[in-house]
């Protein structure tokens, strides 16, 4: 089994929860005891061999890990480089999100919590949370923007069938940002027995670090699998989409200190970076504080958070995790902006070339392949974060 808790030295979070200039815990006092309790215990709990054993067993027997590293031959030919897909779409529930929710439900149990609250955008994190709550018999409340409830209806039905209460977030843009606000408010109102399972590498410290560590199984497996297939643990490029950035953080984690591996983050440009309908955070944002951490954030000159737009509900978020803000600022990460149109095309291309329908989020990562200066000798891994079943109604609008 992979060593999941490994030090990523220069991109390691500081004691106060910062990655360079980004991170921290900007939370109202009402949340301080909860977040502090988590901060003081998460590393110790995660390092406990009994916790690791439970986590590994569930990843293997319940989630279905390790997920395959698949050599996409026809796509490779089309792109002109060796392209591997890290098949997170084959995880139970259809996306990488469950790696984190398994870890966090075990954490919540060890903290003695009785109830789980979560936010969701595409509904994948909500489904993954509802799933582990059913598995462990904990009450589950999921906040979801009312616009997202419409465009990701199958996931709303799945959550309900799993026994979760889905609460529409009707404020603001009625998408992921507002669902996160509502989940935080719920946590403020229920501070003692409730654990908040954040769905990405966002939120106050220690969430970004904890979620990145749970997701780091993606790159831990990739190293081993690539060694088997290519005789080397490191690809030339590791490519992932970034909403909040959890699949990317997991895919990058064990490569952060390997400068030969180019880390590529695909952000959602929506209708285009300068159209006013975009979620390309690093292109449009400035440093600021949202949902408990200092990060890069889309905002007005007055510091009001602006409403993002993307065809993909999972990328429709005005910020990114503080680790990614640091990767951007330090130049360690390469950030690309992918339009709706381009992502949809890349989704159709993968479907036709490889028989895999990707989530719209993951399709952004696939589209990024066409923006990189790849050469035939390059070995590229794309984190295929989820499957596209939930997006069929969107895709089919483009069928002609």
């Amino acid at each position: 089994m992979e060593q999941l808790i490994e030090q990523a030295t220069s991109f390691e979070v500081s004691d106060k929860g910062f990655y360079g200039n980004f991170g921290g815990a900007f939370i109202p006092e009402m949340l301080y005891p909860n977040v502090e309790e988590l901060r003081q215990s998460y590393r110790r709990i995660m390092a406990d061999p009994a916790f690791q054993a439970d986590f590994q067993a569930l990843l293997t027997d319940y989630v279905g890990r390790p997920t395959p590293l698949f050599l996409a031959k026809r796509l490779s030919e089309d792109i002109g480089a060796t392209i591997y897909l890290k098949r997170e779409d084959l995880c139970h529930t259809g996306a990488h999100k469950i790696n984190n929710t398994i870890g966090q439900i075990l954490m919540a149990q060890r903290l003695g919590k009785k109830r789980i609250v979560a936010e969701t955008g595409a509904g994948q994190h909500g489904v993954a949370t509802a799933t582990v709550c059913a598995l462990m018999g904990l009450e589950c409340i999921v906040y979801m923007g009312s616009i997202d409830m419409e465009r990701q209806k199958p996931n709303v039905d799945r959550m309900r069938m799993l026994g979760a209460t889905v609460v529409p977030a009707t404020s603001g843009s009625q998408t992921l940002k507002d669902a996160t606000n509502e989940a935080m408010r719920h946590w403020i109102n229920n501070p003692v027995d409730t654990h908040y399972i954040i769905g990405s590498v966002v939120g106050p410290h220690p969430y970004p670090d904890m979620v990145a560590r749970f997701q780091s199984v993606i790159s831990a497996e990739t190293r081993r699998q690539l060694l088997e297939k290519e005789g080397r643990e490191t690809p030339d490029y590791m490519v992932a989409c970034v909403g909040g950035g959890s699949n990317a953080a997991g895919a990058f984690f064990h490569y952060l200190n390997e400068p030969t591996v180019k880390l590529v983050a695909a952000e959602a440009a929506g209708q285009g970076v300068s159209t006013g309908h975009s979620a390309a955070t690093t292109a449009l944002g400035k440093p600021g504080v949202l949902h408990g951490s200092r990060t890069i954030l889309m905002q007005t000159d007055d510091g009001q958070v602006t409403e993002p737009y993307s065809i993909s509900a999972g990328l429709d978020y005005p910020g990114i995790g503080p680790l990614h803000a640091h990767l951007f600022e330090s130049g360690r990460g390469i950030f690309c902006n992918i339009t709706d149109e381009h992502a949809v095309q890349a989704g159709f291309k993968l479907s036709k070339l490889e028989g895999i329908i990707p989530a719209l989020e993951s399709a952004h990562a696939l589209a990024a392949l066409e923006e990189l200066p790849l050469t035939p000798n390059d070995v590229v891994v794309v984190c295929l974060s989820g499957r596209g079943d939930k997006d069929l109604s969107t895709y089919t609008k483009y069928l002609d």
Binding site: K286, D301, G303
Partner: protein, 269 residues
Amino acid sequence: MTHEPLTQNRINDLFAQKSERLLNVYFTAGFPNLDDTCTVLRGLQQAGVDLVEIGMPYSDPVADGETIQQSNMRALDNGMTLKLLFDQLAGCRDGQSGEPVTVPILLMGYVNPVLQFGVEAFCQKCREVGVDGVILPDLPLDLYLSEYAATFRQYGILNVFLITPQTAESRIRLIDSETEGFIYMVSSASITGSVKGISDSMRAYFERIQAMALKNPRLIGFGINNHDTFETACQYANGAIVGSAFIRHLEQEGPSAESIRAFVQTIRS
């Protein structure tokens, strides 16, 4: 470390003169209408309110319930900005358009707009227009103390911190020793506008804090919405803070001096 109390601050002056039954009322700048800020401020002063807390509207007020959220959205839709608020306040302090406002003023809001404005520029403006203190619930205490406290002090702006029933005693002591003005006691773990009545466990918490003999005065907020809850809070603290109830009143009855006087009367007597 302990500091000498700041001279020349209306909040400290107020507590030096009066230590019981203080009423602090919150309203959102630019609500219900963009230009109501001074009208409401004057109305509250005329009605005999002791301190006023002005909300700087923000797009994502995570510690606030629906009433204050909606007032924030309305104010932003009306075009409220921090810069405009400072301009409005300068006008009401110097009495350009009516009776000068002398009541102590705190700005309450979230940290991001302040960071975008620039912390030093913000403090300077506060000083210039006569803001006496701020409440920024999502500014972490440790970061405030290590990075910003010196700037706030330099401009004589008090920074008021919150405590809740879950705040550890050692942390309350830290807040008490490192900050001045008053301590904002959140009555129960909750967002604004969602507390119904004062329960036994809340009383027990009020008593526990009362027994700590803190150096700072205390005001109780969240769930103070009528005469009864105000009186109860005043038994355990130097006064209380009314927020959502006043926003609802403004929404229904408007910001006229009579309307505000009537509201304050129902709380006080």
